[in-house]
Subunit: 253 residues, 2 copies
Amino acid sequence: MLEGSTIRRPVVISANNPASSRCDDCGARHIGMCDALSDEDLGALSRAAQHLTIAPGKVFIEEGDPATYFYNVTSGMVRVFKALPDGRRHITGFMSTGQFLGLAVSGQCAFSAEAMDEVKLCRFNRTALNQVFADFPALERRLLNIAAHELTIAHEQMLLLARKNAVERVASYLLNLTFKLESCPGGKLPATAVTLKLPISRADLADYLGLTIETVSRSFAQLKRNGLIEFSNAHAVTLLNPQKLEVVANAKG
Amino acid sequence: MLEGSTIRRPVVISANNPASSRCDDCGARHIGMCDALSDEDLGALSRAAQHLTIAPGKVFIEEGDPATYFYNVTSGMVRVFKALPDGRRHITGFMSTGQFLGLAVSGQCAFSAEAMDEVKLCRFNRTALNQVFADFPALERRLLNIAAHELTIAHEQMLLLARKNAVERVASYLLNLTFKLESCPGGKLPATAVTLKLPISRADLADYLGLTIETVSRSFAQLKRNGLIEFSNAHAVTLLNPQKLEVVANAKG
DNA sequence: ACAAAGCGTTGATTTATGTCAATGTCGGCC
DNA sequence: GGCCGACATTGACATAAATCAACGCTTTGT
C-alpha cells in the first residue's frame, strides 16, 4: 500500500508526502468516493492509485487531452472550467476535499481543471479502474450515484444560467453555499441569520454564474440594500434572512 | 416476458400495444441502454419493466415527485425541463427513441418531462432495478457511461448558456443537430452543405437555448444574411457551410 | 373560399447587463 | 508604518437581448 509514488507528468511538483500516500488515512477517506469501500478493499484500490501534489494556479487537466485518469481531491480546491478560444470562460464547478473529478469524460477530457491553492490528488488510471470496478462493484454503484447527483446540480445550474437574473443568481449561490456548509436537514433553511465565508473571488464567482465581476458586485450591493445580507468584509457575508433570500433566489415572490 | 401490462398511473392512456410490450422487438432494442444486454438478459429485464403510452402534451414526470421509476423512451419525443414558479422555463434536453430518462434523480425528481407527441416508454421501478443491476453488471456500467456522457453535454450547454451570444447559441444548436444526425466520424464536419429538419418549434428552441422566440428568429435571420444557412420552410434548414458555421458557433474567428 | 388559430418573422422601444474608467479597501512586504 | 499590488466597489455609458406590437404565412375547419 505504501506506493503510488511514480511521478510521470510535469504537473506534479513534489513527491508524495508519506502521510498522504496511503488511502487509509487520506483526508477524503470518509467522504466522497472511497467511503463506499471497506478498509480491506481500500488497500486494493490504493494499489491502483497515485498520490500527487499540484502547485497553485497549475492547470493539471486540459480540455481535449486524452482522458487517461480519474482523480479524487484529497485536499485543496480545484476550479473546473471550459473556455472559448477568445478567452470567454465558464467555471462549471469547484471541487474540494473528497470530491471526484473526471466523470464528464469520454476519451477526451471535456473540461480543464486548475488548482486554486496547493491541491493534493489521488489519481487512478482509467483502465486500471475498470479492473477495480470488477473487484468492487460498490465503487461503481457509488460512482453512478455521484454522477446522478452531479447531473442534478448541472440541470439546476442550467436553469440558473438560462433564466435567472443577476440578483437571483447571486442569491442562489449564497443559498447553495449555505446548504453545502450546513447540509441543512431535510432541505430546511435556517430561520435565523447565518454567516458564511465566501471561498472564491468575485472573478471566479462571475465565471461560475455567467456574469461579470461588476454585475456580481452590484448584485451583492442590491441584496445589501434590500436588507437580505450584510458584509463584514468582502469574503464574509451574513445572510440576515435565509428564507427571504430563498424567495428571491427562486422567484417565489 | 409478455407482461408489464399493469397500468397504475393516470398518465397512461392506453394499454400496451402487443407489438411493443416485449423488449426483444422494442424500437430501442439496439440503441441506448438495452444494447448492453444479451437477448437472454433482456428477458429478465423485461420482467422488471412496464410498457406505457403517453398522450401528446402530457407531463408524465413532475419536478419534485418521488422518484419511483427509470424510463427508457421507445418511441416519440420528450421534453425535459425545469421551471420557476413565475413560469420561466428551461428545457434541459429532448429525449427520443432509445434514450434514457431518470438519471438526474435522488429521491425526488429533479426535472419534469412532457410528451411532445405520442410517446412510448419502458418503465422500471427503481428498487427493482437495483436487483437487475446485481444480476447484470453490464447494465450498470452502461448507465455510468451514459451518465458521464450526459454530464459532458450538460457542461457544454452550461458554457453555451453562460458565455455564448444568441447567434453562437443557435449556430451551436444547428451543429449539434448535424452531429447527432450524421454521427460525423471522428468529429469531422461535412465540408459540403447539409439539409436538416428542425425537430422542434421556435418556442422550444428558445427555452432550450435560454433565449426568447424573437431572438431565435433574429439569429436565424442573421445567419441567413451572412450566407451560412438557408430555409426552404421554417423547419427545413440547409447549412451552406458547416465548417464556417462551426467557426461562428465556437468563436474560432 | 373564407375565417380563425397557431406559429414565425420583423420592427420599435425598453432594460438588464456588459464595458470602460475611476476610486476604494485590504493585506503583504520592504 | 507606509507603499504597492491585487481585489472589490461604484459610476457613466454602450449594447445585446427582452419586451411589446404588428404583420405574414400555413393549416384547419366550416
